[in-house]
C-alpha cells in the first residue's frame, strides 16, 4: 500500500494522556475521539484489529465455538426476564424506538443468546453447543478513561456455551481457558490468568486474563514460586499468629485530642500500628430494610468490600455517613469503636482475632480505649477475612509470599450455571425425559482492550513495534528522497517483488522530509524497515529488524546488498 493513499494522521509531539497506550494511539494516528469514551479506529488500528479478530476466529473454531452475530438493539422484555433491566443500572444505555418501545444497547448478550437457544433447542442430545460473536458493545461508564481501556463503545468477543451437566461445562470452560492463553500468546500479549470475583454477571467460578502493564486498572497478586495468581479482590490473606500477646490488662479510656486516623492515634498513644484498630460502619438493605454493621480491622489494613458483602450476604453496601454514625454512636469518624456496642453485628478481621490489648475508639469524640481484649470486650465478634491482602503476605493457596503487579483485564471465562436459563426458562429434556434448565458458561475477550494492551507491552516512549502476528504491514519501505527518480523506481520494484512473495508492504511515497518519515515510521511500528537512500548507488539498502533491536544494536541499519534484500526479509520472518 502506498502511504500517500492512507490516512495516518500522526502527531509530531508527545501529548499528555492518562495512559501510555492512549498517548501512543493518538500520536501514531490510530484512533480519534468522537465523544468521551467513543473512538474511531483509523486505518492502522483497524488493520491490527482485523488481524486480532482473525486469530480469535481461528482459535474459536479450533474448539468448535461457532460464530454468530446478535443484534446491538435488545428489547427491554428480554432484560426483564433476567431481571437485569433494573439491576444493571446507569451503565446500560437505553433508548425508545419511534413507537415508544424500550431497548438497550447490548453491553453483553446473555439474554439474547439464551432466548435464541431456548426457542430452538429442546433436547440434551443437541448439547453442548458454544456460540461466539465479535461486535461493538456499549457500557455508559461514568468516567471513560485510558483511551480504549475504559471506553463506552468497545469491541468484544463474547462466547456462550450451553450444557446438560457440570462436567460438560467444565470441559468447555477448560477448552476456552486454553484457547484464551493461545490467543493472547499469538497476538503477542504477556498475560496471566487469575481467579477473580464473579461480580454482577452471577455464577461462581471465573478466571480473568490479565495483561501485565503499568497502567493496569487491576492489581494482581501472584506467587513468584508457584502458579498461584489472583485478582487482589479475591486473594484471601493468611494471617501470622499474633506475637507478644502476654497478659490481658484492664480496659482503659484515654483522651486522644485532635487525632483521627488510626496511624495518628497509634503514634499519639505510642502503640504500634499492629496494636491499633480501624472501625468502619457500613449500611446495606435487606428486604428494603436499612441495616448497619461494624467492621473492625487492624489499623493499617483496608476493607475489601467484596468480602464484606459476602459476609453480609448482600450485593451492595455503602459506608455510613458522618451524620449516621453521629446518631448511631454519639461520636464521629475517628472516635468509633466496638466496645459496648450491641445494636449492630460486629465483624472482626482474622488478622486481629483474639487480640488482647488493641486500641479502639471509645464512641466519644476525642477518646480511645486501650488494652481492649477482643473476646472479652466486644459482644459476639464475628471473625472472618474482610481485608485486602498486602504485598509480602502469604495468600490462601500461595506457596510463598505474594507480590503485586498491575494488569489490564483482557479476557474472562465464567461458569454461569443456571442463572439465566432458570430465570428465562431455557430448558431441555434430559435423558430421563425431564425438563431441566441448561447449564451455561460465558467467555469474553476485550478486543479493543487487547489492542491497547499489546501497545502498552510493545512500545517505548517514542516508538512502537508490532508483533509479527498482528502487524498491519510486514515491511515498511522508506524513500528519504522522493525526488531521486532512480531510487524511487527501484523502491517500487522492490515493493512489487516483496508483494509477489506474499508480504504486506507499506511504502512511504509521501513528499515529506526524511526526518518526518523516520519519526512516523517509528510510531507506525512496522517490524521490518528498508530504507532506500544514497547507498543504492553502491548497491546497498539499509535494513532494520526492529523486533530484534533490543537484542542487538547491529540489527539497526544493516547495509544489505540489493540482491539479498528479499531473502533477508524472508529470513527475518522465518
Amino acid at each position: 500500500m502506498r502511504q500517500s493513499k492512507i490516512f495516518i494522521p500522526t502527531l509530531r509531539e508527545q501529548i499528555e494522556t492518562d495512559s501510555r497506550s492512549h498517548g501512543m494511539m493518538l500520536r501514531s494516528g490510530m484512533i480519534k475521539q468522537t465523544a468521551a469514551g467513543v473512538y474511531s479506529y483509523l486505518p492502522m488500528a483497524k488493520k491490527v484489529l482485523n488481524n486480532i479478530e482473525a486469530i480469535i476466529r481461528e482459535e474459536m473454531e479450533n474448539i468448535d465455538s461457532i460464530e454468530v452475530q446478535m443484534p446491538i438493539l435488545q428489547p427491554k422484555e428480554l432484560w426483564q426476564e433476567s431481571k437485569r433491566w433494573d439491576d444493571y443500572g446507569a451503565e446500560l444505555m437505553r433508548l425508545n424506538d419511534r413507537h415508544g418501545r424500550d431497548f438497550a444497547l447490548g453491553p453483553t448478550h446473555e439474554e439474547v443468546i439464551t432466548s435464541l437457544v431456548r426457542d430452538e433447542l429442546k433436547s440434551y442430545k443437541k448439547l453442548p453447543i458454544t456460540l461466539f460473536q465479535i461486535q461493538s458493545k456499549f457500557r455508559d461508564e461514568i468516567r471513560p478513561r485510558y483511551g480504549l481501556l475504559r471506553g463506552r463503545e468497545f469491541i468484544m468477543k463474547d462466547a456462550y456455551s450451553f450444557h446438560i451437566d457440570e462436567a460438560s461445562l467444565s470441559e468447555t470452560y477448560d477448552n476456552m481457558y486454553h484457547a484464551y492463553y493461545k490467543i493472547f500468546k499469538r497476538v503477542g500479549l504477556n498475560v496471566r490468568a487469575v481467579k477473580a470475583d464473579s461480580g454482577a454477571i452471577g455464577g461462581d467460578y471465573t478466571h480473568e486474563f490479565m495483561a501485565l502493564a503499568d497502567i493496569g486498572e487491576d492489581t494482581i497478586c501472584f506467587d513468584p514460586e508457584s502458579d498461584y495468581a489472583a485478582n487482589i479482590e479475591t486473594a484471601i490473606p493468611m494471617n501470622e499468629p499474633l506475637s507478644h500477646q502476654g497478659e490481658e490488662k484492664p480496659l482503659e479510656r484515654v483522651e486522644t485530642p485532635n487525632v483521627k486516623k488510626s496511624i495518628e492515634v497509634a503514634q499519639f498513644l505510642d502503640v504500634s500500628i499492629e496494636d491499633m484498630s480501624k472501625t468502619l460502619v457500613v449500611k446495606y438493605e435487606v428486604d428494603n430494610e436499612l441495616k448497619y454493621a461494624m467492621f473492625i480491622l487492624r489499623g493499617d489494613h483496608e476493607l475489601n468490600e467484596i468480602f464484606a458483602m459476602r459476609a453480609l450476604n448482600v450485593k451492595s453496601i455503602k459506608m455510613a455517613s458522618e451524620d449516621e454514625v453521629k446518631s448511631l454512636f454519639g461520636a464521629t469518624f475517628g472516635s468509633l469503636g466496638p466496645v459496648e456496642v450491641d445494636h449492630m453485628p460486629i465483624y472482626v478481621d482474622d488478622a486481629i482475632r483474639g487480640h488482647q490489648h488493641i486500641a479502639t475508639g471509645a464512641n466519644v469524640d476525642g477518646y480511645h480505649y486501650i488494652n481492649v481484649s477482643i473476646d472479652r470486650d466486644i459482644k459476639d465478634p464475628i471473625y472472618g477475612h474482610y481485608r485486602f491482602i498486602q504485598q509480602g503476605e502469604y495468600a490462601e493457596g500461595s506457596k510463598s509470599p505474594v507480590e503485586f503487579v498491575e494488569g489490564i483485564e483482557v479476557g474472562q471465562v465464567f461458569k454461569l450455571g443456571t442463572k439465566y436459563s432458570s430465570s428465562m426458562k431455557a430448558e431441555v429434556l434430559n435423558d430421563q425425559g425431564r425438563s431441566v434448565p441448561m447449564i451455561m458458561g460465558c467467555y469474553g475477550i476485550g478486543v479493543s482492550r487487547t489492542l491497547a494492551a499489546v501497545i502498552e507491552q510493545h512500545m517505548t516512549e517514542d516508538s512502537l513495534v508490532w508483533p509479527k502476528s498482528i502487524t498491519p504491514y510486514d515491511v515498511h519501505i522508506i524513500l528519504p528522497n522522493m525526488k531521486d527518480s532512480e531510487t524511487t523506481q527501484y523502491a517500487f520494484e522492490l515493493y512489487k517483488s516483496l508483494k509477489q512473495n506474499g508480504y504486506n508492504v507499506l511504502i512511504d511515497d509521501r513528499n515529506e522530509r526524511a526526518g518526518v518519515k523516520f519519526n512516523d515510521a517509528d510510531l507506525i511500528g512496522i517490524p521490518l524497515r528498508i530504507t532506500i537512500g544514497r547507498g543504492y548507488k553502491s548497491g546497498v539498502v539499509e535494513f532494520t529488524n526492529r523486533l530484534k533491536l533490543h537484542e542487538s544494536p547491529e540489527m539497526n541499519k544493516q547495509e544489505i546488498k540489493i540482491e539479498h534484500i528479499v531473502d533477508t526479509v524472508k529470513q527475518s520472518y522465518e
Copy 2:
C-alpha cells in the same frame, strides 16, 4: 465442521412470510428475529456474511479505499452542524447518555467522517482519500418488513471520498462504480446500475445498483436494447404527439352525477381516457408560508412526486385534504379542474401539452367541462414532466420502449459535492493557498440486503444453492445411517482428506433420519453433496453438483468411485 456441533435450527414446514428470501432464511435456520426489524445472524448466515465482507474488502483495497471503523454512537453536535439532527426525522434513533447528552445511532457516517478528515487534513496535497467501513447501522423504519430487506438494524459497507476537484471525484466515482459491479458479480448477484434520485442525502449525481428480484421494493425501468436503466422515479417519459386534435370546440359544462374517478367520468362522458384529465392539488411550504399548486395529468397517468417537488423547488409536498379543496374550490375530489382557476399555479403535464378537447372537473360537485382547450381555457399553464413513465413508452435516453422489472437496491454511489464539507467547514488549502471545502463522494453497499438478494436469486421453493464464492462450506457430506460404523468411518476419512485439500467441509453426523438430513441439506444450500450410503460396500458414493442441477439432471446423484471422489470435487471447483 461437524454438523452436530453447529446451530442450524431448520424448520420442517413452509412458512408464510412477506418475501421469498425471508421465508428461506427462517426455514433454513439462518436468522432469528429478536424484535421487529432486528435479527440475529445464525452460523450459516454469519459465514456467508463473512465471505461477502471479505470480497468487499478485497475490491475496496484494489481501488485504494482504506478500511476504518467509526463509532455507532454519534454526538448530536455533529448532526447539528450538518443540520440533519432536525432534518432526519423519526428514522434517526436517538438516546441520552447518563449525563443527559444526546446521541444518534449512526444510520450513515457523513458527519463523523467529515469531522475526522477536516481535523486532520489541511492541504490538497493529501487528497484524494477514500475511507470505508463495514458496520451495523440503524434506521427506525416505520414498517420493518421483508426480513433483512427492510430492517432497523442492518449491516452496511459505507465509503466516503474527499477531493480537491470534480475531476478527482469523478475518477473515484467511476472506480467505485466498477468495483461495485465486480463485487456483485463475485457474490453471484445479477444487478443493474440505474440512475436514481439523490433523495435526502443531498448531491446530484447518483446510481443505484439494483438486484433483480420479484420482491423488489423498487421498480426499474430499462431499455432491452441499450444500456439505459433508471429507477422509475427518475425516468423522464417521452410523449408521442397528440393525435386527432382537429378543431377547437366551445367549452361546455355537463352534469356527471355519481362519477368521481377519471376512468369512470371518461366512460360516463364516452370519451377515451387519453382525452380525460386528472386534477391533483398539492400543498407545500416556502419560508413557513403554506402554498398550493394544481397538477393536471392525463386521466390514466400518475403523479411522480419527485418531479413535482423539483418543479416547485421544495423538499416535501403533501396532497391537499378534502376540507382544503372544498374551501379552495367549493368542490370536492372528483370534480376539480383548472378552468377559471387563478389563485394557484397550474402545472400541466407534457403528455397533454396543447390538448384542445380534454375533459376536466368543473369545480362544482357533479359537473365536468368537456372540450377544454388547455392553452385557451387554462390560465398560464406551466408545462413539464410531472408523471411516472409507463411500460412501453420511450424514456429520455432510451433507444426503444422501456420495460419494467422489480429490483432490490443493494448499493448506491453518490456525488455528494460540498453539502457536508461546506456546512461542517471541512476545508483544505488549494494550490493557490486558498481555503476551499473538500468535494465529497459517498458509496454504500447493503451487506445484509446483499445476502437476502443473493438468496432471492439462488433459491427455489424448497431449496437453495449458494454461489461458490460465498458458500459457507464447499462440500456437504451426508451420512444417511450413522449406525453403520463402516460408512461412518469412511465418511470421516473423506472429511479429513477433503479438508487437507483445502476445502471447507460440513459433515452431517447427527442422529437424524435420512429424510431429515436431505431436507435440511437442500435448505442449507452447500453446492456439492456427497452421500455415503449403501453403495459404499460396492465402492461408490453418491455425488450431486447442485450448481449444475438446472443444466442437466445427470448432475443429480451420480455414482462416483471412491478413489475418484476427491478429484471429482476438485474438477467441480475448477
